[in-house]
Amino acid sequence: MTAEPLPAVPPLSRSVRRGGIWGYAGRRLLYAVGVVVGVVVITFLLLHLIPGDPAQSMLGNRATPQAVAALRLRWGLDRPLWTQFGSFAARLITRGDTGDSLFYQVPSRTLIFPRVGVTLELVVLAGLFAVLVTVPLALWAAVRRDRLADQVIRIIPSIGAGLPALWVGLMLIVVFGVHLRWFPVGGAGPGPWLTFRGLILPAFTAAVAIVPVLIRSLRAGLIEVLESDYVAAARAKSLSEPRVLLVHAARNAAVPTLTLFGLNIAYLVGGTVVVERVFGIDGLGNLLFDSISNRDFPVVQGVSLFFAVVVVGVNVLTDLAASAVDPRLRMTRPVVRR
């Protein structure tokens, strides 16, 4: 088009070459491995938080001295801390569990893995509900900022913050299970459809725990984005309003929300523990409580460790998803010396 000679091309900045998604994924995974190692250490150290003699404490006062001594030997409580950790870690790596159940006398793994499915189903369904509730409400509030809809939606986080899952579950059971009979009361039934129907109320209860935070953040993020220059520029270049909102505004607001969702997944997962108890679902949460009433320490360790690893994994996934949307996140920032 123009006849002017083009200036010489300087190389694209270093970040272009460094900002590959695989490089970022590698670094992120490496970091996650570090966190998992930390998680294993904390899980191991739980035993040593028990006041007094852990073996005696677990077996109770009526246990024979021989039994206590046997457990002390099994846990290696006389050996130095790092050898204890060594055998704990070795068993974890080779056998994939945290020791034999004191109550059932089987590897804790055989108690945990059969219950993973139903708990994961519950978590996924709850996450799905949370997104389905959050996104439309936050969008509505942000677009109608300071109008009635916004005023009403803005109160939701404040009310939701103080809703105990156990109480919400109880109330939902009464209203939808007992009075309206829409959903079964006794947890998951046999077969996929009954399982799904049985999980709706529990999943909704679990979702209630994180919806407030998500609404607040997504609304704030959307408002910030809607006031940004690039949304003004998108409007100025005569794009239609739906395209401005869905392509430019929503994508930008989704990035921080995705990260926040990753952070809150821990809270959601923790909430399902309580929800399982309230609804009587035989998942990992119930196993945790049963193990606590049975004073079955290795299983408590195993369940905690499993949950933490799941959370780390989900965090990796949300971070990768966020970085797929936002290329800036793939760069490592240069360290500035102070």
Binding site: M1, T2, E4, L6, P7, A8, V9, P10, L12, S13, R14, S15, V16, G19, R145, D146, E227, S228, D229, Y230, A232, A233, A234, R235, A236, K237, S238, L239, S240, E241, R243, V247, H248, R251, N252, V255, V325, D326, P327, R328, P334, V335, V336, R337, R338
Partner: protein
């Protein structure tokens, strides 16, 4: 010439202020004849940007247009409400002040431009892409094929602004609204972008409204100029007439505040003797300063082997574009950053890598942003008294008198002592920041762009203050600035930095009026000058 392509009559816009509303723009009239450029000049708070956003139909929801009529090519166009943007299709487009903010960070440059022909004009994907590439070539973005696939953060400021202009042109406007399009850019980049806009205008018969705080920039672009102040039009007129014979006092004030650079001597000056060794009263000497950011293979050299000599009672200008290392060098001098190589000598004593508190306070800094340089939770009295008591060890009963004395030095009244920073204007805050620096009786003052966040009419007062402090207190001052006119105006000596090294040093008159180095010459020639003669 045919009738005006755009007329705006009686625009009044209000924003909420506490419980009431406040008119930010009051009865503004504008007229833009076809294929001409209208410049709007004004300081912060003049309402120039709000006026432009109102034209574009981009006012925030909290704004209310209480009066005003807009006509494009004779047809009335709504200023607010439904259809506000549809009415502007193919007529108006906008170039924003900060190109980094105006581009969607999550979308490639190419996609952001091609979505306009694709979505707004229904072209096929392939022809949309071709249009985008054509536009990128039109704005002379180097290597358009590769840059089209880049994300905004991967481009430099000037490249981003070219992309924003291409995006605006994609909307096929008759009128281009430019909101301070070069304010966020370096002076040489600014010259390039202004040149690009002029070229586009000539080639396509585009009309333009060009908003800026910089009278020199506007005068280089506009056929007619409108001066705005506090939301109202002060005066309008042809560029030459307005610059030669301003009718209003305020326009004269603005004109007088423009610091003029003399024309560059066409002949390179003869080499000068080096500055080192001349000053008998060396105050600060920095030698072989080298700073790396980052480590290992990713390390970037910010400053490389720089020598600097600072005499007592002199102002030494450090001039350069962004990324030249001038601010880093300033931070090394003040001890905020440790140099990887080199040393700083103050009054004959080498300053260690970890400076003592006395050594820190001997070299004080004035910061660029007057809005963040004062602790917003402390009154002026608290800010000053804290230093006087704890650093200077002044007895309690002398503190008050010394505070008043310091304020007098920066020409502020005693009543300012009980104010919080939020109560002061930018210029006043900058003077308070100077008073704070003086409180600890420094020997050297490093001022990092002390006036670039200030309106031009306030700039002069702060610069005069620096000159007075040099003369009255014998301070050695380092003035870091991108603004050559400011440097020429008050500096005794100048060093020009580029890419982390000093390429030229000498007296201000020598370096700026008779530059020896090509880069310096380029820099000086890029500075926009008031165009008083008819183009």
């Amino acid at each position: 010439m045919t009738g005006p392509v755009l007329t705006l009559a009686g625009l009044t816009v209000s924003f909420p202020a506490g419980r009431e509303r406040r008119d930010v723009v009051r009865s503004v009239d504008l007229e833009l004849p076809a294929a001409t450029t209208l410049g709007i000049v004004g300081e912060s708070g003049s309402g120039k940007s709000v006026t432009l956003r109102a034209l574009m139909g981009l006012l925030p929801a909290s704004a209310r247009v209480s009066a005003g009529m807009l006509h494009l090519g004779g047809a009335p166009i709504p200023l607010v409400g439904r259809g506000v943007r549809a009415a502007r299709r193919r007529r108006l487009a906008m170039v924003f002040q900060d190109p980094a903010a105006a581009l969607d960070p999550l979308m490639t440059i190419g996609d952001q431009i091609s979505e306009v022909p694709r979505r707004a004009f229904g072209q096929s994907p392939q022809s949309s892409r071709d249009t985008a590439l054509d536009l990128l070539r039109l704005v002379r973005l180097p290597d358009p094929e590769r840059r089209a696939a880049a994300y905004p953060h991967q481009l430099s400021g000037g490249q981003r602004q070219r992309a924003v202009i291409a995006m605006a042109l994609a909307a096929r406007p008759e009128i281009l609204l430019c909101d301070e399009p070069t304010t966020a850019l370096d002076v040489t980049t600014q010259a390039e972008i202004l040149e690009l806009l002029r070229g586009l205008r000539e080639r396509s018969g585009l009309s333009m409204i060009f908003v800026s705080h910089d009278l020199a920039v506007v005068s280089s672009m506009a056929d007619r100029i409108t001066v705005m102040r506090s939301g109202a039009v002060v005066e309008s007129g042809g560029t030459t007439a307005l610059l030669h014979a301003p009718r209003e006092a305020y326009t004269r004030t603005l004109l007088n505040a423009v610091l003029e650079l003399p024309a560059v001597d066409p002949e390179p000056a003869t080499p000068m003797p080096p500055l080192v060794g001349r000053a008998a009263t060396d105050r600060l000497r920095a030698s072989d300063i080298t700073v790396f950011y980052g480590s290992g293979a990713a390390a970037v050299r910010a400053v490389g082997g720089v020598d600097l000599l600072l005499g007592a009672g002199r102002i030494h200008g450090l001039v350069g574009e962004s990324g030249s290392g001038k601010t880093t060098l300033g931070k090394v001098l003040t001890g905020q950053i440790r140099a990887d190589v080199g040393r700083v000598v103050l009054d004959g004593g080498i300053l260690p890598a970890r400076r003592s508190r006395d050594q820190l306070s001997a070299i004080q800094m004035i910061y660029q942003d007057p809005y963040s340089s004062l602790d917003p939770r402390m009154t002026v009295r608290q800010t000053l008294a804290e230093l006087l008591r704890r650093v200077c060890g002044l007895p309690r009963r002398q503190v008050e008198a010394r505070c008043v004395d310091l304020l007098e030095k920066v020409t502020l009244p005693r009543s300012a002592l009980d104010g919080y920073p939020g109560q002061f204007s930018g210029g006043q805050r900058q003077r308070i920041a100077i008073a704070r620096a003086l409180a600890v009786e420094p020997k050297v003052l490093v001022a990092d762009e002390p006036t670039s966040a200030l309106d031009v009419s306030i700039q002069a007062a702060v610069l005069d203050l620096l000159v007075r402090l040099r003369d009255d207190l014998g301070l050695a001052v380092v003035l870091i600035s991108h603004n050559l006119a400011v440097i020429r105006h008050i500096c005794d000596d100048v060093s020009v930095m580029v890419g982390g090294v000093i390429v030229e040093t000498g007296s201000a008159a020598q370096v700026i009026d008779h530059p020896r180095v090509g880069y310096t010459r380029q820099l000086i020639e890029a500075v926009p000058r008031l165009r008083k003669d008819p183009a």
